[in-house]
């Protein structure tokens, strides 16, 4: 899956969405969702290879390995939240978009709580 193909595909999808928007706005939004989903699915193998390379580099460093999984999860949550927010805004539902954003922030906070606990324990250990 080359960069030209994805670009052309997305432009084609955007033009078709523009045509549909005149007549049937819901169909246009659904077409947009489909284009996004198909392009992301096509690019997933590359993301997987990036993640594997990054995990190898991480393993060679002195940091704890479970933090890498945490970072990956955080990136995934951030990415999905951004996607959901933008799609809701495309539909014109800003309130729902804000709700998606808020949920993403909450999930990220919950995810990083153990890290904060470890950090505070380390700091307290150093100070006291």
């Amino acid at each position: 899956m080359t960069v030209q193909e994805t670009t052309v595909f997305c432009i084609l999808g955007a033009v078709l969405c523009l045509v549909l928007k005149e007549y049937q706005k819901p169909q246009a939004i659904l077409l947009g969702i489909t284009v996004v989903v198909v392009v992301l699915l096509a690019v997933m193998p590359q993301v997987r290879s990036i993640k594997e390379t990054a995990s190898q580099l991480f393993a060679e460093s002195s940091l704890q390995p479970e933090w890498f999984a945490l970072i990956c999860k955080a990136i995934g949550i951030a990415w999905l939240t951004q996607l959901g927010t933008d799609l809701c805004k495309d539909c014109g539902e800003n309130a729902i978009a804000s709700a998606v954003e808020l949920c993403g922030k909450i999930f990220l906070a919950v995810l990083s709580l153990p890290l904060f606990v470890t950090l505070s324990q380390t700091v307290l250990g150093v100070i006291g």
Partner: protein
């Protein structure tokens, strides 16, 4: 690349739009609305499989 799917959805959308205009001109507004809803449901059914595949892949890659 699933260009077929995109053309299917775009084609369905355009045909549903034309059908609804033709029915509205013939003063059959209820049928027009039903056609629009039916078109939306059909497209949703086509798209839901892809969305599920995407979320499964994201779960696998990011370990969510």
């Amino acid at each position: 690349m699933d260009v077929d799917l995109i053309f299917k959805i775009a084609g369905t959308g355009i045909i549903v739009a034309v059908l609804s205009i033709v029915l509205k001109k013939a003063e059959r507004d209820e049928q027009a609305m039903m056609t629009v809803l039916a078109g939306l449901i059909v497209v949703l059914m086509l798209v839901i499989d892809q969305i599920r595949e995407l979320f499964d892949t994201v779960k696998a890659v990011f370990g969510l």
